[in-house]
Amino acid sequence: MKETILLTKHMRENPEDSHLLKSYEKNGGYKGVKKVLKSGTPESVLEEIKSSNIRGRGGAGFPTGVKWGFLAEDQERYLVINADESEPGTFKDRILLERDPHQLIEGMIITCFAANISKAFIYIRGEYAKPARRVQSAVEQAYEKGYLGKNIFGSSMDLDIVVHLGAGAYICGEETALLNSLEGRRGEPRLKPPFFPAVKGLYNKPTLVNNVETISSVPWIMNNSGKDYASLGVEGSTGTRIFSLSGHINNPGNYEIEMGSSFGEFVESLGKGVRNEKSIKAYIPGGASAPWLRGDQLDVKMTIDDVANEGSMLGSGAVVMMDEDTNLLFAAKSLVSFFAHESCGQCTPCREGTTWLENILDRIASGRGRASDIDLLLDVCDNISPGLTWPPKMTTICPLGPSATASIVSLMKDFRSEVEVLLPKKVVVS
């Protein structure tokens, strides 16, 4: 299995200075946008994006072209790049921000041209200090060259980009929470409907929210074609995608591949196998929110649909491998505390439920478990996510609460005995 290098091409070929405008341009950067501005129309760009069949890389996998099509008419519209990447296991946007910020900026200009937008924001998680600096200086370079600001590239188009830093709240990755945060409010997800910020978003104006990777793919699509892009990967999961591989792997890292090969192949060929020749006990196929798959499910194909068929999701493209020695109770505990810590606190089930789950797991881990705790855990999970199905039935405003149940349900479904041994035997009083 080999990587297919589109998005990461420039940064690989020019490791010395890939983040600088000079270097980006020397290697064909900003050609796509110039072409579009000169001879393209917004409609033609939208057509290319639609025909590429690219689906959002932020986790939900929504078709990008369709989303752009929802954008409501208004004088003021905005583009917001979701660079809040905080899902445990995920670090793919970081490399795009740090090593090839101009590719993102070019993608943004094209997107804004297609959507008639003149103000855009890049919302970067606060912890990404260095990537944020790189993006900021790239934006400044672009302004200097007249690629941003008024009449960019000598055209009639204006575009301003503001780099905005988050401040440590995973929930701000959820697009409506992100918009609240960008408006200087608490990062609380907004009520749905409206389901799409494209209808009512930032300052209640139509707003496109897209992931860094999604928009970074736009220049390649425009330099080549939507069709070329669609010919990569498999149906429903076209193009390439950057997967973040971590855990007990010899060669962790970001890999750009076409979707369609199996997790097992991925781990073996690009990840160079499991550390210390151990076997995999369980793995997370798509970030902390995704239900786990077992070590004997490594032949599942890495496509959005195949993973969904196994009752999990490809999500943010973060693959975490856990070997046979992993203490899965601790793994689940780490994941649950993450969600408890990151709950915004609006919805009762999420606010109260996730902390309760964390408390129970803590108790079990420290040897103070009770015989009834597994039932209790599952019932609390059921009250947050009725039926314990995936995708979850929601009792909450956003999927964070239900996501917190994924690891517990996986643990109890496939590895229940690992927990049972820690609990006192049920005493049956007759």
Partner: protein, 777 residues
């Protein structure tokens, strides 16, 4: 118009309106869905998740909160399925795991939805064995509100109210997730005119009022609906009484008037009813001190006095707190006592105690507006006394209208609190320090653009007694010329409009002072009026009353005015009497009795009938019902009579509207330059407030407002100073208000110390010398 649709709930077909929230549509059809965070008057937040129901979607059944889901035609809803039940029980358990078990000492117990639902659906036994979340027990977040964060279920009602409705977001969520708590900023207490509403809408005992704490259990309370008398808005209220003590006033949701809200003054201004200072016995002055008397001694004395003085001139100074029935009797009585009874109308002897009275806009050419018109008009234009301080709930209604897109034009200099809501604020460029229009309104393009050919509601009244009416006329005429206008005459005090309706002709305090002839023999009645305190004419009236031959006061306290009386008749107050009142929309509403009056106190009408009887003049009424009937007989239109019968129907929140002729005979004061703009603040030193301990301190701050340019001239840099005029010197806090014009200071006339100042005379502001030094000198 909203479209009617049908939808199905638990197998039953119901009707609703397109776009209505499911929870509300169900409620309208008698199906109650449990909820904590949803409140009819607040934007939904969908936070508590208690109201989850199942609906059919193209992708199967889904759980949705009914408080954020709109009904659509043919929607199929289940509110009682197993999934719904399980989800709701789950939410309840989640809410309870961190909720303290202190119901026995909680004010809310007995009327707490959390408690009720736990009884109904809750788990018998807790599965939560961890430690509950702990916070410091109740912390005072203002002088009148306490916060117990352990009890809070984070429904966001208080925070939404403060942000959306009252517009003073001083209470907010702090922290996030499981640590979320509601709180105020340490140095910025919950200083809102409307804070009590949050206590009322808090579904649990997290926010409580100092005045009600530990006082009663809901099941011990006797309740009656009534109408608040704190200003001319006429808020619907519920009075709660236990053991003949008023313990609490709640806002009732009357769509037409207050929509559930009250100002804190309306809500907490009741403890005075049971104050030890309340007048309980008739007092006769004997050598400069009062001695108790009985009613026959009193009437005898008065009768003798009238005879002794030989056809004296009898004048009536009346206040705004009487009922329509009382005004009706006062009017009859005043007519009987009028020497000029048979001469002409303009010899009226009734004077209304409000400095800002003027002849208003009534009659055929001026269409009266309802509060509903605020929502349905295109533009609201305000030129009046400060709305927020004088008719607080009208401020909320204006704010709501503006939120829904109605444009607002405010003319300065009194309504600074409306400025941030206004689309256009006309300040000193357009309006002089004496409240004259400096330019033709037609020359102000922005103004013209906003009002031209629009539906306009004008809230208009004098901003200061010195304002000349012709400038209000200019505004009114101009708008009437260019657009469709409706009027809310901005008289702010309690039942002013009831007085206008039932007194044949009303004059003002200026007329009183001018028409009073020292050379005559004079008897003055003051009825619920205290013009010596907090009035522009205070010192003049004080002099008159001191010299009058005989002064009779009907009142509930000894105060600056009544202490000058020769005879004081203790009267009943709010909650102790039944009657009708008329609000600024001319809507008649009912006040009800739930308490006996203190001691031998009687209603105003009872005294007046007794006095008339002793004078062999026949005003014969046995009870208020009779007066109400007699009052109704004077209406021409028989259909919408403000009768007790009509108004007592519990479904009648609308009240009764009917036209009556209004005759106000008030002229402008002589033109004079204003240097101190005296305004009334919500809280001050009224006898009712200073005798209500929970709120008595709220009107104690002494301050002045002025713009920074004016302040600079005095070279003051500190936040306090002395305001000096002649021999008066008042230690005040200085507040910068750059909406005020240059060379003017604004001062609260209803706070201690200000009433002796002359608004037309020069003043000085000097660096406050250390308070100690002052007393040494």
């Amino acid at each position: 118009m909203t479209e009617k649709i049908t939808f199905t709930v638990d197998g039953k077909t119901l009707e609703g309106k397109q776009g209505q929230l499911l929870i509300e549509a169900c409620e309208d059809s008698g199906i109650h869905i449990p909820r904590f965070c949803w409140h009819k008057r607040l934007d939904p937040v969908g936070m508590c998740r208690m109201c989850l129901v199942e609906i059919e979607t193209p992708r199967g059944k889904a759980l949705v909160p009914s408080c954020t889901t709109q009904v659509t035609d043919e929607l199929i809803v289940e509110t009682e399925s197993n999934t719904v039940k399980k989800a709701q029980e789950g939410v309840l358990e989640f809410l309870l795991i961190n909720h303290p078990l202190d119901c026995p000492i909680c004010d809310k117990a007995g009327e707490c939805p959390l408690q009720d639902q736990t009884m109904a659906y809750g788990p018998g036994e807790s599965r939560f064995i961890e430690e509950k979340r702990h916070f410091e027990k109740p912390i005072p977040i203002s002088d009148i509100v306490l916060l117990d964060r352990e009890r809070c279920i984070l429904c966001a009602r208080c925070t939404r109210f403060s942000d959306e409705i009252s517009g003073d977001p001083l209470i907010e969520f702090i922290q996030r997730g499981n640590k979320t708590q509601v709180n105020t900023f340490p140095d910025e207490p919950f200083k809102s005119y409307f804070s009590g509403n949050t206590v009322q809408i808090c579904p649990v005992g997290a926010l409580t009022a100092t005045s009600y704490r530990f006082k009663a259990r809901p099941w011990d309370l006797k309740k009656v609906s009534s109408t608040c008398n704190c200003c001319s808005l006429g808020c619907s209220v519920e009075l709660n009484v236990s053991q003949n003590k008023m313990l609490r006033i709640l806002g009732e949701d009357n769509e037409f008037t207050n929509q559930g809200w009250l100002s804190d003054k309306g809500r907490y201004n009741f403890e005075y009813l049971h104050s030890d200072n309340r007048l309980t016995n008739i007092k006769l002055k004997d050598n400069n001190s009062f001695v108790d008397a009985n009613i026959s001694e009193a009437t005898e004395k008065l009768k003798n006095k009238i005879e002794e003085l030989h056809n004296p001139d009898i004048k009536f100074l009346i206040g705004a707190n009487s009922t329509n029935e009382e005004y009706f009797v006062i009017n009859k009585f005043a007519n009987l006592m009028n020497r000029n009874e048979f001469l002409s109308k303009d010899k009226s002897n009734v004077y209304f105690a409000d400095d800002n009275m003027f002849s208003g806009y009534f009659g055929e050419n001026h269409q009266n507006a309802s509060f509903e018109d605020l929502d349905s008009s295109d533009v609201i234009v305000v030129w009046s006394e400060d709305i927020k301080d004088n008719i607080p709930v009208l401020f909320l209604r204006i704010k709501k209208a503006v939120k829904n897109g109605v444009k607002l034009v405010v003319l300065g200099h009194t309504n600074s609190s409306l400025e941030s809501l206004a689309d256009l604020y006309l300040g000193q460029d357009v309006i002089s320090n004496n409240f004259e229009l400096k330019t033709n309104l037609g020359n102000i393009k922005e103004f013209q653009n906003i009002i031209e050919n629009k539906k306009v509601t004008i809230i208009v009244g004098k901003s200061t007694p010195l304002q000349q009416k012709k400038y209000l006329d200019n505004l009114v005429d101009h708008i009437q010329k260019y657009s469709q206008a409706k009027f809310l005459n901005c008289f702010t005090k309690a039942n002013t409009f009831g007085a206008l309706q039932h007194i044949d002709q009303i004059k003002g305090l200026n007329e009183f002072c001018n028409e009073y002839e020292e050379s005559n023999k004079n008897i003055v009645f003051t009825i619920g009026a205290n013009p010596v305190n907090a009035s522009f004419f205070g010192s003049k009236i004080e002099n008159i009353l001191k010299k009058a031959d005989f002064v009779v006061s009907l009142d509930i306290f000894i105060n600056a005015t009544t202490e000058l009386a020769d005879l004081i008749l203790p009267t009943t107050s709010f909650g102790e009497k039944e009657g009708t009142v008329t609000n600024m929309e001319m809507r008649v509403l009912k006040q009800n009795k739930i308490l006996p009056g203190p001691g031998s106190a009687l209603s105003e009408w009872e005294y007046l009938t007794m006095i008339s009887k002793s004078l062999d003049k026949e005003i014969k009424y046995e009870n208020v019902d009779e007066i109400n009937k007699a009052l109704c007989d004077e209406y021409e239109n028989n259909e919408e009579l403000p009768s007790f019968e009509n108004l007592n129907k519990p479904s009648n929140l609308f009240g009764m509207k009917n036209r009556k002729n209004i005759d106000i005979n008030i002229k402008d004061l002589e033109k004079n330059d204003l240097s101190i703009l005296m305004v009334k603040r919500l809280y001050g030193d009224s006898s009712t407030q200073i005798n209500s301990p929970s709120i008595s301190m709220l009107g104690s701050e002494r301050f002045i407002e002025l713009n920074s340019k004016t302040l600079e001239k005095f070279g003051i840099s500190s936040k306090t100073a002395n305001l000096i005029q002649d021999q008066h010197s008042i230690f005040v806090n200085i507040k910068i208000n750059n909406l005020l014009p240059d060379n003017i200071v604004l001062a609260p006339i209803n706070r201690r110390g200000f009433k002796n100042l002359d608004p037309t005379k020069d003043f000085d502001i000097r660096e406050a010398t250390n308070m100690k030094e002052l007393s040494v000198n």
